[in-house]
């Protein structure tokens, strides 16, 4: 069966194409095989029980290579590969690692946080973002990895990256590595903290794209260290449009403009515009989903008021509608991390998210109705939806 990842290809699959969910958690990974109707799900796992899996992804180009970013709490990080849908796994021969520096001040990769396949025309190219912030590339399908571009050691970028004390609770991260589907030379990536950056020369140089983005009150917005993009997605149906869930709101960018437009102000005041994930529609660039969390006072990072809900915009961010049918109405204090919400390519689009409390939820009708398809898993870090490329 040839498979491809959900957000990589906008083309609608056949009605009988089955969905496979790749679920990465704090204590291992699971594969959930859906039936044609997306009603029943067969659990395959745990894989890597006890290991921290930050992300698991399928290569949309060959439809068979799985990569999993792993770290056992007490051992160093690595990346595992499978070419038989997890029946067997083999460790990368050379996982992402910073350059060795003789003065003892070199950095150490704590974990690989984000995996991204390269351009469709560059088979076997993969990118990885790490914590602390680093950008890495593989040209052999994830077997060996090397630092990519100059940013890992560039003094200006190192300043923007800040230190571990400046980062998120699990460490500062490179994420949202996006390759323009029209141009192998054109890429984006983001740093929490450190801002959003773009290259048009295949990584030889990067330029920040920060106009219009807000920072926490009292900080200097001209200093990229203080910018904290949480998740950025490019619209497959319009690669000139990007959406961003930021620490300080929701934004849209329409290239060639380099100024982000704040589209979070129309969210209900009692819910706010803070969250981790950002999901885009595979065929409609005006439609996107967010999953708000409580970003007030001490930043509880829970569902606002204990009432979880996704929100959708159908008009590129001018308005938002609440989508909570089927979800708990009260006393549900979980949230959804930035890689833990995704869409498939079916019509209507299937949406999927995993919670910090270990529940896996889905909607087969673009968020109108939600169903819990698994519970009692470890804290979920990432969910990816894969659909059969052809029936």
């Amino acid at each position: 069966m040839a498979l491809s990842s959900g957000n990589q290809v906008a083309q609608k699959p056949g009605a009988d194409a089955q969905v496979l969910l790749l679920v990465a958690t704090r204590k291992g990974a699971w594969l959930y095989h859906g039936d044609v109707a997306r009603k029943t799900w067969r659990a395959d796992g745990p894989h890597f029980l006890g290991q921290i899996i930050s992300h698991m992804l399928l290569d949309p180009r060959d439809g068979r290579t799985l990569l999993a970013a792993a770290k056992t709490g007490h051992l160093g990080p690595t990346i595992f590969r499978s070419t038989d849908f997890g029946r067997s796994w083999k460790e990368a021969a050379q996982p992402p690692a910073f350059s060795t520096v003789s003065d003892g001040k070199g950095r150490t990769v704590d974990h690989t946080f984000w995996l991204a396949p390269g351009h469709a025309d560059e088979a076997d190219v993969w990118y990885a973002g790490t914590s602390p912030q680093g950008l890495f590339r593989s040209t052999d399908g994830g077997v060996t990895w090397a630092p990519f571009s100059s940013i890992n050691d560039d003094p200006q970028y190192r300043k923007w990256m800040g230190s571990a004390q400046d980062g998120t609770p699990d460490g500062p991260k490179v994420h949202s590595i996006i390759v323009d589907p029209r141009d192998t030379q054109h890429m984006y990536f983001a740093m929490s903290g450190g801002g959003v950056h773009e290259t048009v020369d295949a990584g030889r140089t990067f330029t920040p794209i920060m106009k219009g983005l807000d920072v926490v009150e009292g900080f200097d917005r001209s200093d990229y260290t203080f910018h904290d993009p949480h998740c950025i997605r490019l619209c497959p149906s319009n690669p000139d449009r990007l959406y961003q869930q930021n620490h300080c709101g929701i934004y849209r960018l329409d290239r060639p403009s380099d100024e982000w437009v704040n589209i979070g102000k129309s969210m209900p005041k009692e819910v706010g515009d803070i969250g981790f994930p950002m999901v885009v529609h595979p065929r409609d660039a005006n439609t996107a989903w967010v999953f708000p969390m409580d970003g007030t006072r001490v930043w509880p990072r829970t569902s606002p008021g204990g009432k979880p809900a996704a929100y959708v915009t159908r008009d590129a961010g001018q308005s938002w509608q609440r989508l909570d049918a089927g979800m708990p109405k009260d006393q549900a204090w979980w949230t959804v991390k930035r890689q833990a919400m995704t869409a498939d390519r079916h019509d209507p689009v299937g949406l999927y998210f995993g919670t910090t409390s270990g529940e896996l939820w889905m909607s087969g009708n673009e968020g109108a109705q939600w169903t819990c398809i698994a519970r009692h898993l470890p804290e979920i870090y990432a969910v990816e939806a894969v659909v059969a490329a052809s029936a």
Binding site: T78, A93, T100, V109
Partner: protein
């Protein structure tokens, strides 16, 4: 020399003991990695430092210097400390 492998690393060796050669701990870890590719990086980071929860004992004494000399008849014990939940 005999090397005792902690449970967390037995996915590489598939047993609790391994035989590896080398005049120092660093040499033995290189030999272990030749035998079990990937195992060294799980213990030693890219700056050649011992990872925080890994400890080495040579003939019963904890050793923090990777250049510590070893005897062919000695025993290296690799210990993985546990913390957190």
């Amino acid at each position: 020399m005999k090397v005792l492998i902690p449970s967390a690393l037995r996915s590489y060796t598939e047993q609790g003991e391994a035989e590896a050669r080398g005049a120092t701990i660093a040499d033995v870890l290189v030999d272990l990695d030749r035998l079990y590719p990937g195992i060294r990086f799980r213990m030693i980071d890219e700056q050649e430092k011992i990872r925080p929860h890994i400890r080495f004992f040579v003939d019963g004494e904890q050793v923090r210097d990777l250049a510590h000399p070893l005897s062919a008849t000695g025993e290296l014990i690799i210990v993985q400390a546990l913390s957190g939940g």
